[in-house]
């Protein structure tokens, strides 16, 4: 990577070595800044894997490193989705794990003994440095002004929209996928510009890598054909387009089919059909062009009409046939939810329940992108002005991704690169215009801020220019101010919002000192130390990966939400009465149940707040047994206090959350600090479970599932007996006595 960027840099500044060198230094500084700003979390907390999904990736990486690639490929994980297990090797995107595995082995080869955990933690920052480089290359393709590339790289390096997914410890697919995304686009633009098989093939290779790394590859799969299609419609067909696209498609599709998880999807799934269609269309267009070379216009038109008619008829018939015979799968649910934001909530609550899949709130755009968001339209507008093939690409990308980012929070990530490109284009054109022939004062001012705004661009002689010193100074000064504010904002956001590992919580004591709340790890290590190796833990799926990673115990469901029914089973167990839940727990061999309860600490991300999703998901499968309505009071409120509905009070989740909670408080004073309500004086009774562990701040509570009673009594009766309550003799029952048959 570094080599090739070096190459490009030198080429761009032929004859002006100093500038070239300076540019390299600036690029490296940007990369270093990008890496450094992501290390807040390591400094604030420790070198630890964050959040949820990264824990699975980490575990998979460890497996890969320990057992080698082939057994990783064939990995059947019997410690998740108990008792179904998961064909992990065939249902994950292996790119991330293989990347860190390769890095690990290379470092070992160089006799640098490094822990695999540290590689995983630092992979995302490392790749963000590479992303900055790729961004520079991409933007350089768009603009003749080299300042644009440097600005884009700098923006990409520190913009919070990207940092949110790539801080140290955030070991997720996106960590490398964004680099691959940007770099694939760079190669694609290169291929379209040069019409070379090599660039097309390279784009295909990196596309294949991207496919192996992230499910978001579908974005590329649709964006590139769309680009080609728009080019065709604009009458911009050329042999370069044909070469670039067909090479990319033929090789890229075959490459993507090598990934076991993707398999035949590129042929079968409707998500990929656009690419295939454009491929076919391009063949026709190419042939038409070829024939046209031999013919005068009129005859050609005639031939063209007959060909178009024929092809259209054949294509339509084929599509109908395939769809009817079910060869082509219908669109996937996640895809539908992209178009209709209400779709998921109605049809697939499991998708809607993920916070990442919620529509983006407007402030989030500004929060993640700051002033880039209003430079973005300006950049897109500039693209319209020039309008080459690559600018068309930017425009399409911009339009599509802004829509998607509005639909799903998590797709903000795909928006970020193009915003950086467009903003850099806009800003560089402004700066180029205003700094040309500028007075030394303006330049020194700019130099002073060189780290943020690399304004050492090549200055062409413009035909027109702004020659008033005042306006130059004013505009440059204000832009510099904006850049400074941007840097400050990014640093603030990174250090405050995005550097929390969410496994470890931090809070401030009244005197301002920091308090670390480490309940999660406390509980997971309790499980690791105190339970048998194959004790099955049931929890809501959010914590599945963490339990698997930190406690190393089998779980029933986890964050890989491939089996809705199984998740709904857990939801049903959590939201039903004990008598209903207990057989479910027994059937699934559950030994321990883990719930997250934030009532004592005021931790709002607890299970009771997620409870309605469990109910909804369970209702989706058992509409007769679980009804969301029953959990709301008559006035439609979701309450946990005295007024809570009986269904709510009897649900296992409620009982586990508040079991013994009132004993912390004076009688009748028990307060839930999350929901801010006073609880009933009488706490709930648990019969079929017994409390096994409660963490220091009561965030994690673990309950052990009791065995069947030795004497075949009801658990409620057994508990009553233990407490010394005498059982009432069954006094005369009404109706006939049930006789024993033996």
């Amino acid at each position: 990577m570094a080599e090739s960027s070096l190459d490009v840099l030198l080429k761009g500044s032929s004859g002006q070595r100093t500038r070239g060198l300076l540019r390299i230094i600036i690029i490296l500084t940007i990369a270093a800044a990008a890496v450094a700003s992501r290390l807040f979390s390591v400094i604030r907390f420790e070198s630890i894997i964050h959040e949820f999904d990264p824990w699975f990736n980490f575990r998979a990486t460890k497996y890969l490193v320990e057992n080698g690639f082939y057994s990783f490929w064939d990995w059947f994980d019997d410690r998740t989705w108990h008792p179904l297990g998961r064909v992990t090797g065939g249902t994950l995107y292996p790119g991330l794990m293989v990347t860190s595995g390769v890095i690990y082995h290379i470092l070992r080869l160089l006799t640098i003994p490094v822990d695999i955990r540290n590689i995983c933690v630092l992979l995302a920052p490392g790749f963000s440095g590479l992303t900055a480089l790729a961004m520079y290359l991409l933007t350089c393709e768009m603009s003749t002004s080299p300042s644009a590339g440097l600005l884009a790289a700098a923006f990409m390096g520190i913009t919070p929209g990207y940092i949110s997914r790539s801080v140290a410890g955030s070991y997720d697919n996106e960590a490398i996928a964004i680099f691959l995304l940007v770099f694939t686009f760079y190669l694609w633009i290169k291929a379209v510009k040069n019409g070379s098989i090599m660039w097309g093939a390279l784009a295909a290779l990196f596309y294949g890598y991207m496919v192996s790394a992230w499910g978001g590859y579908v974005f590329i799969t649709n964006l590139i054909p769309l680009h080609v299609f728009v080019l065709l419609c604009m009458g911009r067909y050329s042999s370069r387009t044909y070469i670039a696209y067909t090479t990319w498609y033929a090789l890229g599709t075959l490459g993507s089919m090598q990934i076991p998880f993707v398999g035949f999807l590129p042929i079968r799934n409707s998500d990929h059909m656009a690419a295939l269609g454009v491929f076919g269309l391009l063949q026709l267009v190419a042939f038409a062009e070829f024939v046209r070379g031999f013919l005068p216009g009129k005859q050609f038109q005639k031939l063209l009409t007959s060909m178009v008619l024929l092809t259209f008829g054949l294509g339509f018939a084929g599509l109908v046939l395939l769809t009817v015979s079910g060869v082509i799968a219908p669109w996937s649910g996640r895809f539908y939810s992209l178009w209709d934001t209400g779709y998921a909530k109605i049809h697939i609550p499991i998708i809607a329940s993920v916070s990442e899949h919620q529509p983006t709130a407007w402030p989030a755009f500004f929060f993640d992108l700051n002033f880039l968001i209003w430079l973005f339209p300006a950049g897109v507008f500039l693209c319209f002005q020039k309008l080459n093939d690559e600018h068309v690409f930017v425009i399409i990308y911009a339009v599509l991704s802004s829509y998607f980012a509005g639909v799903m929070v998590r797709l903000m990530l795909t928006l970020t690169p193009i915003v950086c490109v467009a903003a850099a284009l806009a800003l560089s054109s402004v700066l180029d215009n205003f700094l040309v022939m500028s007075k030394p004062t303006a330049e020194t001012q700019a130099k002073a801020n060189a780290k943020d705004a690399k304004i050492y661009g090549k200055m062409k002689n413009p035909v027109v220019g702004i020659y008033s010193y005042f306006s130059k100074a004013f505009v440059t000064g204000s832009l510099t101010l904006y850049l400074l504010i941007f840097v400050a904002h990014c640093t603030w956001v990174t250090s405050n919002a995005y550097s929390s590992p969410s496994v470890v919580l931090a809070s401030r004591l009244p005197d301002g000192s920091q308090m670390i709340i480490d309940d999660y790890r406390e509980a997971y290590y309790w499980l690791r130390q105190n339970t048998p190796d194959n004790a099955k833990i049931m929890s809501w799926w959010d914590y599945g990966y963490q339990i698997g990673g930190m406690a190393d115990r089998p779980t029933l469901v986890d964050n890989n939400t491939w089996n809705n029914t199984h998740i709904a089973t857990v939801g049903k167990a959590m939201s039903s009465r004990e008598e209903v839940s207990y057989p479910i727990l027994r059937q699934h061999d559950v030994d321990y149940v883990l719930v997250v309860f934030g009532g004592l600490l005021g931790y709002s991300g607890d299970d009771l707040n997620k409870f309605l999703w469990m109910v909804r998901i369970a209702e989706g499968i058992w509409p007769d047994e679980i009804k969301e309505r029953d959990f709301f009071t008559a006035r439609g409120e979701y309450r946990v206090d005295e007024e809570a509905t009986p269904t709510m009070k009897n649900s296992l989740m409620y009982k586990m959350s508040y079991y013994n909670y009132q004993s912390l408080f004076p009688a009748g004073q028990a307060v839930d600090r999350v929901r801010g309500v006073r609880l009933p004086a009488e706490g709930p009774q648990l019969n079929t479970l017994e409390e096994a562990f409660t963490s220091e701040n009561w965030i994690i509570r673990i309950f052990k599932v009791k065995d069947l009673d030795n004497l075949d009594r009801d658990h409620s009766n057994a508990v009553a007996f233990e407490k010394g309550i005498k059982r009432k003799r069954a006094t005369k029952k009404k109706g006939p006595r049930v006789l024993r048959t033996e």
Binding site: G85, R729, L739
Partner: protein
């Protein structure tokens, strides 16, 4: 005659000298040591079978079922106390704890005195109900001893019952007549699956308090075979709890008595033999089943190497062999277990629900055990399965074996290769034709390169 029989049994017992399979410390709880002599034959029989007997009064301070959290005794024989209740160290909770810790209990009741509420609530826990009127006894006007209870009809004369279900082994049958004086009636609840009647009252029996008026038919709680004289509970951990309705039947007097039923001959009782059967079963001398080795492995020709035995992981559609070794304890030794003719020992291969349920066939037999086994193909479904043998029959200790194994999917190199499928040959040929064509093309191209250039130049 009687004496002769007694001697015979004595000799038999002495030679057998049985020992329970679960320990020999037996605690007898009885009111006064004077009462002890009433049951001397029983004590000597038990001692002859190898038990260490300790006698304690329920009021004694020393009496404690547990020591340092562990059981202090293996077995417990409780005779009905005269006083109310069993005292502070024999509360129902203690007794339930004793059961939960694998202790076996014989609880004798008596129709002579009313049963204490502590005992009654203990029995209620295990779903055995005593009559509302605590002094009620079982009366039968057709099967009574004409010698001792000509008036009251409260000494029942019964045959030992044969098993109620065909798949249950007979532990309590035999010839001869039992004499059961003044039986406290028990009825069994219909919910508990762990209860089994050992001896039921005859169809003509009913329960009432002889000190009161004869009740109206509506008030009679239970009659006939719904009344149990001896019933047993075998807990999930196979601890045994036997409730004997008539303590008097264990007295020396009734061991050696002769009885005469209406219209019958005068015969000696077989109470002593029955007591042996009852205590032998309860204290785990009989009906104890033990699982020895469990083996499962892939079906292969010849011997299975030790490292291939009991693998943790199988693949779908593997041919799998399962073997289980089962022994049964018979008074003093382990013998091969035999499944009753109408019953089967079954293996389940289950994930959430059984995918296979197969009868295990006896394959070989060692001196002390039978090896059962079967062979099957793992289902076409990956997941965490378990081999389960769940054999729970009345009067036999439970067999509940569960061995988890993982059944994995086909690995990437376990599918048939394309060239192994004849249908794939066409496409392999196609692919190689393309590659061959490509190579030929490249060669021709390179070969033809100069000429083309020449042509171009001339043009």
């Amino acid at each position: 005659m009687r004496w002769c029989l007694a001697l015979l049994i004595c000799a038999f017992v002495a030679t057998v000298n049985a020992l329970s399979s679960s320990g020999s410390r037996l605690l007898v709880v009885l009111d006064e040591t004077t009462e002890k002599s009433t049951y001397s034959t029983l004590w000597s029989d038990l001692e002859a079978r190898g038990y260490d007997l300790s006698f304690e009064s329920p009021k004694s301070d020393k009496l404690s079922l547990f020591e340092h959290g562990e059981r202090a005794y293996d077995h417990l024989l409780i005779l009905p106390p005269k006083s109310k209740g069993l005292g502070p160290s024999l509360t129902p909770k203690h007794i339930v704890d004793f059961l939960n810790k694998d202790g076996n209990i014989v609880l004798a009741l008596s129709g002579k005195s009313s049963t204490s509420s502590a005992v009654s609530s203990l029995l209620l826990e295990v779903d055995i109900h005593l009559a509302n009127d605590r002094s009620a006894v079982v009366i039968d006007h057709f099967n009574y001893d004409t010698i001792s209870a000509a008036e009251k009809h409260d000494v029942l004369l019964l045959q030992r019952s044969t098993p109620l279900r065909p798949d249950v082994k007979a532990f309590f049958d035999g010839e001869g007549v039992l004499a059961l004086p003044r039986v406290a009636p028990q009825t069994l609840g219909s919910d508990s699956q762990l209860l089994a009647p050992i001896l039921q009252a005859p169809a003509t029996a009913y329960a009432y308090n002889p000190k009161e008026e004869i009740p109206s038919p509506d008030d009679i709680e239970a009659t006939g075979s719904q009344l149990n004289i001896v019933s047993a509970l075998q807990a999930r951990n196979s601890a045994r709890f036997t409730v004997l309705g008539s303590v008097e039947a264990l007295e020396d007097k009734w061991f050696s008595a002769s009885v005469k039923a209406p219209n019958g001959k005068k015969v000696p009782t077989v109470n002593r033999e029955f007591a042996r059967q009852l205590t032998g079963w309860t204290f785990k001398e009989t009906g104890v089943v033990k699982v020895g080795k469990i083996e499962h492995h892939l079906a292969t020709e010849g011997e299975v190497a030790a490292e291939d035995l009991n693998p943790k992981i199988y693949r779908i559609k593997n041919e799998t062999v399962f073997r289980i070794e089962v022994s049964e304890y018979s008074f003093d030794k382990w013998v091969p277990f035999e499944v009753p003719a109408e019953d089967a020992l079954q293996l389940e291969f289950t994930m959430l629900s059984p995918f296979h349920r197969l009868a295990l066939q006896p394959i070989s037999r060692t001196e002390t055990s039978t090896v059962f086994g079967t062979q099957f193909v793992t289902p076409d479904q990956h997941g965490i399965f378990s081999f389960r043998v769940n054999y729970k029959r009345p009067f036999l200790t439970n067999i509940e074996e569960k061995h988890e194994v993982t059944v994995r999917h086909f690995a990437h190199d376990e599918y048939a290769r394309s060239w192994a499928i004849s249908g794939g040959w066409v496409w392999i040929a196609g692919l190689w034709a393309v590659i061959g064509g490509f190579l030929a093309f490249v060669i021709v191209w390179l070969y033809s390169a100069p000429t083309v250039n020449k042509v171009k130049k001339t043009q």
